[in-house]
């Protein structure tokens, strides 16, 4: 059976974990939830760092743990990136990178030293001692070190949490390259919806030690029964392709099944796949297509669901040819427009952020 199938139940003091998920065998799966919801404990169970008798885990058909087997940590073909880089202080960067690489058989090495060094941009750091690296550099070395064991599964515990905004922005492109260039499935704990919308393909939502829901990221972000689709950060992620650069107005048109969206000119060549983030607060609804609005991006959509969002507002889920959109509008507007599920309307997108 392909994919990552996991089920773990564990009690640590007063904390109970009982979480299960089936995630695809490629791409990035995000574990998301408030702090204390058991994300790190679940990740440690996957790695075998937390002993959880009775747990089950298979990774792309290979059983790592079930009733009869429980592979010790060092026999699980995984890579683990800790929240704090956790580099070996007694070894320089190069020896840190080689530590795991030397310990796997030559035939299993799918990631080369040069490749990892290049991918994470750490060539100039190889001779240094970890103590002299910045937080962002340290984390990049840690990621490269984990990749160098050619893992079948890469586990990342909030690799950006300990970093300042600048270092975060520094690392995200590397994580995206990782996603695009290597076929290694990743389970990733992230702490901001925007960060996860940017990186993840699949999401497991955690609360109070339990896995509450899981599914493809795009669906999860727009599910009105889940907390993600509420609040100021609520919004969807849409995968699009660069369709046209409009040099005269410095705009780029992004195409997807539900239509086209123009954004400020992007540097990517035509045909590049990029992800858009559209917040619910930036989407409004009209019944007719207005030609006289300053808003460029108007998409024909169908209302699929309406949910309360506080006393004055509602959250409307829209369907743009299969791609969900969220719009946060006032309760009054909703009544005036007479919105109901099934209605064909237009979504005006005031702004959209290119994520990659």
């Amino acid at each position: 059976m392909s994919g990552i199938c996991a089920h773990f139940a564990l009690t640590l003091g007063k904390f109970h974990l009982d979480a299960a998920f089936d995630a695809p065998g490629r791409g990035i799966t995000a574990l998301f939830g408030p702090s204390g919801s058991g994300k790190t404990t679940l990740l440690r169970c996957l790695a075998g760092l937390e002993r959880a008798p009775g747990g089950r885990l298979s990774v792309n058909g290979e059983i790592w743990q079930d009733e009869n087997t429980c592979l010790p940590i060092h026999r699980r073909r995984l890579g683990y990136v800790f929240q704090e880089a956790n580099l070996f202080p007694h070894l320089d960067v190069c020896r840190n990178l080689e530590y795991g690489w030397k310990r796997i058989p030559q035939a299993e090495r799918r990631v080369g030293l040069d490749q990892a060094v290049e991918l994470l941009g750490i060539g100039h750091l190889l001779e240094r001692n970890p103590a002299w690296l910045s937080g962002g550099e340290r984390q990049r070395v840690a990621i490269a070190r984990a990749l160098l064991v050619s893992p079948d599964l890469l586990l990342m515990d909030e690799p950006l949490a300990a970093l300042d905004q600048a270092s975060k922005a520094d690392i995200l492109p590397y994580l995206e390259r990782l996603h695009d260039e290597l076929e290694i499935p990743v389970v990733y704990i992230g702490h901001s919806p925007d960060e996860i919308a940017r990186l993840a393909d699949f999401m497991v939502l955690m609360a109070q030690g339990k896995s509450v829901a899981s599914g493809p990221l795009k669906d999860m972000l727009a599910r009105l029964d889940l907390p993600l689709a509420h609040g100021d950060e609520a919004g969807v992620a849409i995968d699009t392709v660069i369709g046209e650069h409009d040099e005269s107005y410095h705009l780029t048109r992004l195409d997807f099944a539900g239509g086209a969206i123009s954004v400020a000119q992007a540097p990517h060549p035509l045909g590049t796949r990029v992800r858009l983030r559209i917040h619910a607060r930036d989407v409004s609804i009209t019944l007719e297509r207005h030609g006289d609005s300053s808003i460029l991006n108007v998409l024909p959509v169908t209302v699929s669901e309406i949910a309360d969002e506080g006393p004055a507002q509602v959250m409307v889920r829209l369907d743009a040819a299969g791609a969900p959109l969220l719009a946060r509008i006032t309760r009054k507007s909703c009544a005036v427009l007479g919105l109901e599920p099934g209605m064909a309307v237009y979504a005006q997108v005031k702004s959209a952020a290119l994520l990659a």
């Binding site: 940590i73 683990y80 956790n86 580099l87 070996f88 202080p89 007694h90």
Partner: protein, 227 residues
């Protein structure tokens, strides 16, 4: 000048005793320190206290019990005789046994502290990088705990060189077999041979001072270079 009748045997014997004892202590003390540093068993406190006993007990107390235990009537004595080792009191092997017990805290505690300061995290990282339990112990825990090992070796060695009470109780004063430095000094003083006593005592003083200087000197310098 060194007196012509000067007997070097106690010096070599002492060095041999301290070397063997230190090596034994590393073999026994390292796993014990590792266990103490990570166990959550209720045994941790009693075992830790027992290891620390020689720090507070008069050496003669330890020596007395060892003598009784390992003597022909004691359980330890029965055991060594049954194993064909004979009786340990008043032999070099008995000295090694007593010294090992007596210097145990000086070796276990620095190593234990080093392991505790290290924590589990580097070892977890090593485990996720395919290192098995022995591999990660020797490639990560030991190198990172090196300052603790250095302290343990120096203190264990020096303390064994300097002991008197346990040695006298369990070893007696047999030239060439159990007559170590500290006992020899005592003998010389008893015999009013102050010249010999001076040479030995002065040598011990210089040795101890140099050992402690070596121990405290570098760490001071390292702290300065870090700041």
């Amino acid at each position: 000048m060194i007196p012509s009748t000067f007997d070097f045997a106690p010096i070599w014997l002492t060095l041999r005793l301290a070397t063997i004892t230190t090596l034994l202590l590393l073999l026994i003390g390292t796993p014990l320190a590792r266990w103490l540093s990570r166990t959550q068993s209720w045994l941790k406190r009693p075992v830790g206290a027992a290891v620390a006993l020689p720090l507070v007990l008069p050496p003669t107390v330890l020596g007395f019990y060892l003598l009784v235990m390992l003597g022909p009537q004691g359980p330890g004595g029965h055991l060594t005789q049954a194993l064909g080792l004979g009786l340990l009191p008043f032999t070099f092997a008995g000295l090694v046994f007593g010294s090992t017990l007596y210097s145990l805290p000086f070796v276990v505690q620095p190593i234990q502290n080093a392991f505790e300061a290290l924590g589990e995290r580097p070892l977890e990282a090593a485990a996720t990088l395919r290192a098995g339990p022995w591999d990660r112990f020797f490639s990560v825990a030991v190198p990172l705990a090196r300052p603790g090992f250095v302290t343990a070796i120096v203190l264990g060695f020096a303390h064994t060189v300097g002991e008197f009470g346990v040695v006298l109780m369990i070893g007696g004063n047999i030239p060439g077999a159990t007559r170590v430095l500290s006992v020899a000094i005592y003998d010389h003083v008893e015999a009013m041979e102050y010249a010999q006593a001076h040479w030995l005592a002065g040598g011990m003083l210089a040795f101890s001072f140099l050992v402690l200087l070596a121990l405290y000197g570098p760490s001071k310098r390292m702290q300065e270079s870090k700041s």
